[in-house]
């Protein structure tokens, strides 16, 4: 029973990590730098969701408002900073993304304080499915995450802009000479990234708390999942996120609660030593 409960928690955590890792792997593959602001974008999504939830009380409104607000923030980040750094080394973009993350955290800290906020959702009686207790909220959150993932994969693999994104990820020079406008691709990328981190942030806020540092703590597991899944592989990022989430939860009886994050670090190092291209990545992308 306890292990089943841990697996269930792990899947919830894994979906959050997977969403964050998906956003990370897309930026890594298309804009070509590790986006260290992703954690703080997630936090921003959580606060935006909380704002809408307190105003309306509806889960749908919460999700939509968080997605719109975070996508706009993400687009603003691109136009204000990342577009100006186009053509610079990935280090410059990485350092700038850390800076943006700090700024987001500072603004959230000054505006909402450092206290821990919670979504005050009424507890409902859990469903019993095949002997496992599942709370309706968890189920709704998991389904929303799956719907978000489905939408993201739909955009990536079934729309024209998604095809263009994948073309830029494969070979940006070739994409440019075939007439793909990189600015439109980048704008679409950052909107998508904002939406993904927003959903992850709202889920994280509902599962735990909303505080200025919560996103930063997801950053490392998300990086680990993006690399474990193989940079540039969307399905890999989600799969690795789920594996990491479940592994983290299952490890708690053995290593204790505080070392949960350490699990993703160990996985990260092991993957880098044994199979740096991850589960689904291409070998030439990692050197």
């Amino acid at each position: 029973m306890t292990y089943l409960a841990l697996v269930q928690n792990g899947i919830a955590q894994g979906l959050i990590i997977g969403l964050a890792a998906l956003s990370m792997t897309l930026v890594f593959a298309i804009a070509r730098f590790p986006n260290a602001a992703a954690g703080d974008m997630l936090t921003f999504g959580g606060y935006a969701g909380l704002f809408a939830f307190n105003a309306t009380g509806s889960l749908l409104a919460t999700g939509l408002f968080a997605i719109i607000a975070t996508a706009l923030l993400s687009l603003a980040m691109y136009y204000a900073v990342f577009r100006r750094l186009a053509g610079r080394s990935s280090v410059s973009l990485l350092v700038a993304s850390i800076g943006i993350g700090f700024m987001i955290r500072a603004v959230l800290g000054v505006s909402f304080g450092h206290g821990q906020l919670v979504f005050e959702i009424e507890l409902t009686r859990p469903y019993i499915i095949g002997g496992i207790r599942v709370s309706p909220l968890d189920l709704k959150l998991a389904l929303s995450a799956l719907a978000t993932l489905a939408a993201a994969f739909g955009i990536l693999y079934m729309s024209s802009i998604g095809r263009q994104m994948r073309a830029v990820a494969d070979n940006s020079d070739l994409a440019r000479v075939s007439g793909i406008r990189s600015e439109r691709v980048m704008a679409a990328l950052w909107l998508l990234v904002g939406a993904l981190t927003a959903v992850a942030g709202v889920m994280l806020g509902m599962a735990t708390i909303v505080a200025p540092e919560v996103g930063w703590e997801i950053l490392l597991p998300a990086f680990a999942a993006a690399i474990f899944g193989g940079i540039g592989s969307p399905i890999g990022a989600v799969a690795a996120g789920l594996i990491l989430g479940v592994t983290q939860e299952l490890s708690t009886p053995f290593v204790g609660f505080t070392y949960k994050i350490a699990v993703s670090f160990v996985v990260l190092c092991t993957v880098l030593v044994m199979r740096p291209r991850g589960l689904f990545g291409k070998a030439e992308a990692v050197r």
Binding site: I98, A224, S264, F265
Partner: protein
């Protein structure tokens, strides 16, 4: 006032040591070490624990350098053969894990209560003792600057600069870049370890909270402001940063409606803003080479 001045200079010198370590790693070699604070913490705890068990401070600081350097070795092995940004992520994670371990392993580190009554660098009280401590820190910093100058203008220094500028070319002339990178990582981390040890003996108490990731990025801001790849840049950048950090403390006194918690947020925000603005508008820093970007 004299004591206050001595305190600022001492803290600045300790941060200059960190900035020198990062200049060696990032400025000269191109290693993106986002885990400086991890090695700083390892140095601080190593030296503090040894000194609390009766080891003389000179030896415990040396041991801190060795332990911090050795702990960098596996990190380098795991990630320095891959893309630069992987190394950045691994070091970032490493520093977080170090802090977790310092918080959890109570038998060794006393957890969140930390270690107190660490023997100071120089026994004694009053202004005279404070100035002797400044002199000792100044001597260590001068030695580090001398060492880094010697490294930069040696054949080794030319190879690491070549690795930064064109790694393929270095491979083509038959050198193994990863080996050199690991050596640089170890030396720079040992320097961070010394800085941590001196900081522990200077403040005389340490808690895990002193070793947050923010410290790493203070050092990054200092190096980027001062000028990447310049020893003078590391010194000037750190001085400017310390001026700002101390200034923000005074600002708190003048603007009482800003609480200390808010001030902490504002400090993080200003560090973030500095990182973004310098990356966009002045990537070569204040002391950097103005002819190239």
């Amino acid at each position: 006032m004299d004591a206050y001045l001595a305190a600022i200079v001492s803290v600045t010198l300790i941060h200059v040591l960190l900035a020198l370590g990062l200049t060696l790693q990032y400025g000269f070699t191109g290693l993106i070490n986002f885990g400086m604070v991890g090695f700083f913490a390892i140095g601080a705890y190593t030296s503090a624990l040894l000194a609390l068990h009766g080891v003389p401070v000179v030896l415990s600081v040396t041991a801190a350098a060795v332990v911090a350097g050795v702990s960098a070795w596996p990190i380098g092995l795991a990630s320095l053969r891959l893309r630069d940004d992987y190394f950045a992520i691994v070091t970032l994670g490493f520093a977080e894990i170090v802090r977790l371990a310092l918080t959890s392993e109570k038998w060794l580190t006393n957890g969140v209560q930390g270690l107190s009554r660490i023997p100071p660098i120089y026994e004694g009280t009053g202004t005279a003792a404070a100035f002797i401590i400044v002199a000792i820190l100044l001597a260590v910093t001068a030695a580090a600057i001398f060492l880094i100058h010697r490294v930069a203008y040696s054949p080794f220094g030319r190879i690491i600069a070549a690795i930064r500028d064109n790694e393929e070319a270095v491979q083509a002339i038959g050198k193994d870049p990863a080996r050199f990178k690991i050596q640089v990582l170890i030396v720079g981390s040992a320097l961070a370890g010394v800085a941590g040890a001196l900081s522990a003996h200077y403040v005389t108490y340490i808690v895990p909270e002193q070793f947050m990731a923010l410290t790493t990025f203070y050092v990054w801001v200092a190096v980027i402001m001062g000028g990447v790849g310049r020893v003078s840049g590391a010194v000037v950048g750190t001085a400017i940063l310390m001026f700002f950090l101390e200034g923000s403390r005074f600002l708190g006194d003048f603007l009482p409606w800003i609480s200390s918690v808010h001030m902490a947020s504002i400090r993080i925000g200003v560090v973030g803003l500095a990182l973004v603005l310098f990356t966009i508008y002045r990537p070569q820093g204040l002391m950097g080479d103005f002819t190239k970007r």
